[in-house]
Amino acid sequence: MNQNLYNYILGIADNSLILGQRLGELCGHGPSLETDIACTNMSLDLLGQVRSYYQYAAKIAGDGRTEDDIAMLRKEREYVNVLLVEQPNTDFGYTIARQFLFDVYHFLMLTELEKSTDLNLSAIAKKSIKEVSYHKRFSSDWIKRLGDGTKESHDRIQTAINDLWTYTDELFHQTEADKAMVEEGVGVDVTKLKEAYYKEVENVLETATLDIPESKYFQKGGKQGIHTEHMGYLLADLQYMQRAYPNMEW
């Protein structure tokens, strides 16, 4: 099996799985009916995309593993999502800030992945980017509404942006699998997305009357499987059913 390609796919898919799980936690708990539905809709889009990636990864593994095994039965250290997406839904400000900081990256990454020489990945990217453009529109819109809203909403979204800023740099770190796949024309060179990313993020923050965080201290580790303390709890929730009732099917 092509281990680099397999790892590369998980690197993309795990971000969507874990963010999808976080958004799914808001089902029935969103701050208003419309935002509740929006968050769960985005969760559904992300989980749908994840299925395509994991089905492809399972095919590459070729050892009988299924998409469900890959999603549900790995240990914490085997998940390679970035730290940003596992951060909790502390309040609506954090939920939106996390979404926005990821959506801008996600959109840029998919735009490049569309050009992949791997036809499966390019097809998934072409499908996903249509959905992700709606996500980005939603989260950018809310950044502006909250930032340029009341003093309370402004302060809270600013706090969330300041706190989550430390996880943004990791988005542009390359793994070994990344490097190998870029060389083959399959993968996206994430280091090249960085400039466009911060430019777009800063534009939206300025429109939203928010300050751009100055901190240059960045956290990393997710891509190597070293996660923040929130990840274990998230996985306990995600994997509960398969761990308690192994091989249970819907």
Binding site: I37, G48, Y134
Partner: protein, 166 residues
């Protein structure tokens, strides 16, 4: 049909037209444009369908419905899910668009108009109940992945708008 032609055996069309999207029962999968090819090989029908949205939970049901409808017609069915080319709202047929409107769901506008409707609040979406264009978006996301929520300022009815996807 902007990008690709469908390749569907004419004998199968009446069977496939009987199958509807479980979330929008008035719309057949043919009018929806999700069937990309259907060919008969001996006693087996090979069908390719494409999802509207990646996470669309209706796809599994649609696949099962196709198999059972074809079984009744005496065929074995092999259903494949394909992602490329990605589905667009342009593939909904004129008959399908009318069925949506009659059902109370506003049909998708073209991409540019859709953008201004969802971003700038321009009043272009027609209320499927009274026909007024004096409508407001409530949320970009609606009851299913493919819809946004609107309300009519004249007849006061809330309604779904089928989001444009290109």
């Amino acid at each position: 049909m902007t990008t690709t032609q469908q390749n569907i055996n004419e004998k199968l069309i009446p069977i496939l037209e009987q199958i509807s999207d479980p979330e929008i029962p008035v719309l057949s999968i043919m009018d929806m444009g999700v069937v990309r090819s259907a060919v008969i090989e001996g006693d087996t029908v090979k069908i390719e369908i494409t999802p509207t949205y990646s996470g669309c939970p209706a796809m599994d049901v649609i696949g099962d419905d196709i198999k059972s409808a074809l079984k009744k017609a005496g065929y074995k069915a092999e259903v494949d899910l394909i992602l490329h080319p990605a589905w667009t709202t342009d593939w909904i047929t004129p008959k399908g668009r009318q069925a949506l409107e009659d059902y109370g769901i506003a049909a998708p506008l073209d991409a540019e108009a859709d953008k201004s409707v969802l971003l700038e609040g321009k009043q272009l979406v027609k209320c499927p109940q009274c026909g007024s264009k004096n409508t407001t978006m409530i949320s970009q996301f609606g009851s299913t992945a493919c819809k946004a929520q609107f309300k009519c300022n004249d007849c006061q009815e809330p309604f779904d708008y089928f989001k444009c996807l290109k």
